[in-house]
Symmetry: C2
């Protein structure tokens, strides 16, 4: 009798992902949130500018609003003489009249008077007579100024809509909000946004040998690492982790917990016991959870070959290797993109650096390899050194700075090659 | 009468930071947290391995535990014949006797019997007679197996302490916890850690022209961007933001709010009104908050020259430019490192990529420039293009992928140069 794994062909990572997407339509749940709580959330709608920013012409410097043509030909030896007729108050409408021979004192951010089309920086002026009540400031309400440099129309002026034009697309749907985006929304009076609700990721650890980390293992027992490491990965991806604890390798027990997780969550991750029989049991349980069931059993990737990908009643269910280091690699490869799909998130540029490989990485054609590396700056060049030690150790991951992928069709990588290191 | 700014020499960013650290001893407050809540928190203590991981020898494959010497010279044509005397149960002590001519069935993760020193992978064996009760698994409790390849002592065995050695330093104090670290802690039974409490960062916006984003600005008024953008930056750095709202440009009002913020927070940020008089008022208020007061007023950086750095009764106080884009650059330059100091965080490698500059960036010697750029992959080369538009627009920041620094002593950067882009 063949085992479950033998009923399936091992698929490439890319084919496995396509198989999943052919059987799964991710549904993005939306909720509204005030912008001060929206950092790192993913927009559920595109955002258009509701108005022009700025809404009025503003000075970008401290100086004097003028009609530019009045300064033509001005120089230190032959300055233009202007009469200062007033000061633009901050935060108020400025509607003073301004003639060609006149100037109005403005501050950075001031509204420009209607007739003005440029601002002369205070550094390029000299005051002729001081109003004694204003001597504490270098920008003074002098009765007359000499302008030592000409300005062109528009100089030192922020035009209406120059920052953002009414109706322009500010952010596409699926954009993850950064600090500057929160600021940009505030600037336009958008104080609440529609964002994707955090997907609920159910996490189940299985294995007769697995105990809670707070307990002291007896001989043959190991602590549950996956519930904690995978929950942290889910959080880092923007999901809410729901941990269902450790389930012994018994079909009816796992089925009961998995059914509950499937009902309560948007996505379920089962880290299988590491023995073949435990892995087969995971597949059998997943198959009774709902149709279509297991789609992929076995992926041509190292580590993580025994990966299971399933959809049960529209909920994606992943069977991850029991080994924590392998489970984390497979999480990054399949579960994180699935979380992104549930967030409706646009593909981000992966955060990676280019480095030169310090040692050969052997590999086998027909398999994607993920190798942990350390980064080191040497001779003004970044070097990636494969981390010594078995790849299935959790502390190999802890010690590594990043990960290098060896392509499916590559027969390993040579020392000296330039490689892309995902951080 | 000179203005406050004129009493100070403009300092380089590096000198300004050193001045701050000479007058400030950051105090890291600690708190304990369960590891499931510790993602992205900064360790307040170094962590040593309390025990060996693994605590017993484990098989890394499905197969048969053997005495390696019994397989010497084995090949497909001349296999070694071994009698299978039992199966190692998962999660239990394995103390079965094992002789040179014997093998014990083990699963990935099983404890090794005492006499075994290697594991033969099941793929390299053939069963001679099947126990009919085990036919569902490829790893069967056969009564005899033929071993087709020799193993050396230690093959496919995880040794005691191979993942982490008792007493070894797992994480230094000041390490920011990633998902794999949470897993690593769980593996060793460390379920609670001491971490730096989130520093409280008080944020005050000032300016007669500034109104809450939920309000509709009248002519001359602008919405408060800084409270939101800087709070998001503080959160992203691992701090808790406490917003004190918008304060008009009046000394007694700002002093009252600033005193409260200083008493309640570990660090205070005041985004000054953008006019010279408003900036001077910030400096005057900061000087009455406590000794030693303003240390730096003016930094040779663009944008952000009018930056104020102060320490008042052991609380650092930063006066940031009113312009949101400038304020955000200065936050990254000074406030984020101060938050890291309050977290006791070790310096992280900045996340940056190397790219070729697509256009010249003019600059002035004696000033650090921070220029927003877009990144684009072209001819299998990453290109950085300076973002068109005034640098003091918030949407210039929104549209940018990263930032290029032009060094103090550089006279601009040339198109084609390789530059480091901070993301």
């Amino acid at each position: 009798m063949p085992t479950s794994a033998e009923l399936f062909h091992v698929q490439t990572p890319r084919a496995a992902w396509i198989t999943l997407t052919q059987h799964w339509q991710p549904e993005v749940r939306l909720e509204r949130t005030p912008i001060q709580d929206a950092l790192q959330r993913v927009l559920g709608q595109q955002i258009l500018a509701p108005e022009d920013l700025p809404a009025f012409r503003r000075s970008t410097v401290d100086g004097y609003a003028v009609i530019a043509s009045a300064t033509h030909g001005a120089s230190a030896t032959l300055p233009a003489l202007l009469t200062v007729t007033g000061e633009a108050p901050m935060g108020q409408r400025v509607d003073m009249p301004l003639g060609p021979g006149q100037a109005i004192l403005v501050h950075t951010g001031s509204m420009l008077p209607g007739a003005a089309d440029a601002v002369v920086m205070v550094e390029h002026t000299q005051t002729i007579s001081l109003d004694p009540s204003h001597h504490a400031s270098p920008v003074s309400l002098a009765s007359s100024i000499e302008v030592m440099r000409p300005v062109a129309s528009g100089d030192n002026v922020l035009q209406v809509g120059e920052d953002a034009r009414k109706g322009a697309t500010l952010y596409p749907q699926g954009h993850r909000l950064r600090p500057q985006d929160i600021g940009g929304l505030a600037a336009l009076g958008i104080v609440e946004v529609s964002v994707a609700a955090r997907p609920r990721v159910g996490i189940i650890s299985t294995g007769d040998e697995v105990i809670a980390p707070s307990h002291t293992p007896l001989a043959g027992q190991v602590r549950d690492v996956n519930s904690y490491a995978l929950a942290a990965q889910a959080q880092a991806a923007g999901a809410a982790a729901v941990c269902y604890g450790i389930v012994p390798d018994q079909h009816h027990l796992l089925e009961k917990v998995a059914r509950r997780a499937k009902a309560e969550c948007d996505l379920v991750v089962i880290s299988a016991g590491s023995s073949v029989s435990a892995r087969d049991m995971s597949a059998d349980v997943i198959n009774v959870l709902g149709a279509p069931g297991v789609l992929v059993h076995g992926v041509s990737v190292k580590p993580g070959k025994p990966t299971i990908i399933a959809v049960c009643d529209r909920v994606p269910v992943f069977g991850l290797p029991g080994n924590p280091a392998s489970a984390m690699v497979i999480f990054d490869l399949f579960v994180e993109p699935a979380i992104q799909a549930l967030l409706g998130e646009r593909r981000r540029r992966p955060i990676s650096v280019r480095a030169r490989l310090a040692r050969n990485i052997p590999s086998t054609t027909g398999r994607e390899d993920y190798v942990q590396v350390n980064l080191e700056e040497r001779d003004s060049q970044l070097w990636a050194t494969p981390v010594f030690g078995k790849s299935n150790l959790i502390y190999t991951l802890v010690r590594a700075d990043g990960r290098v992928k060896v392509d499916l069709d590559a027969n390993g990588l040579q020392a000296g090659e330039l490689v892309e290191v995902s951080l």
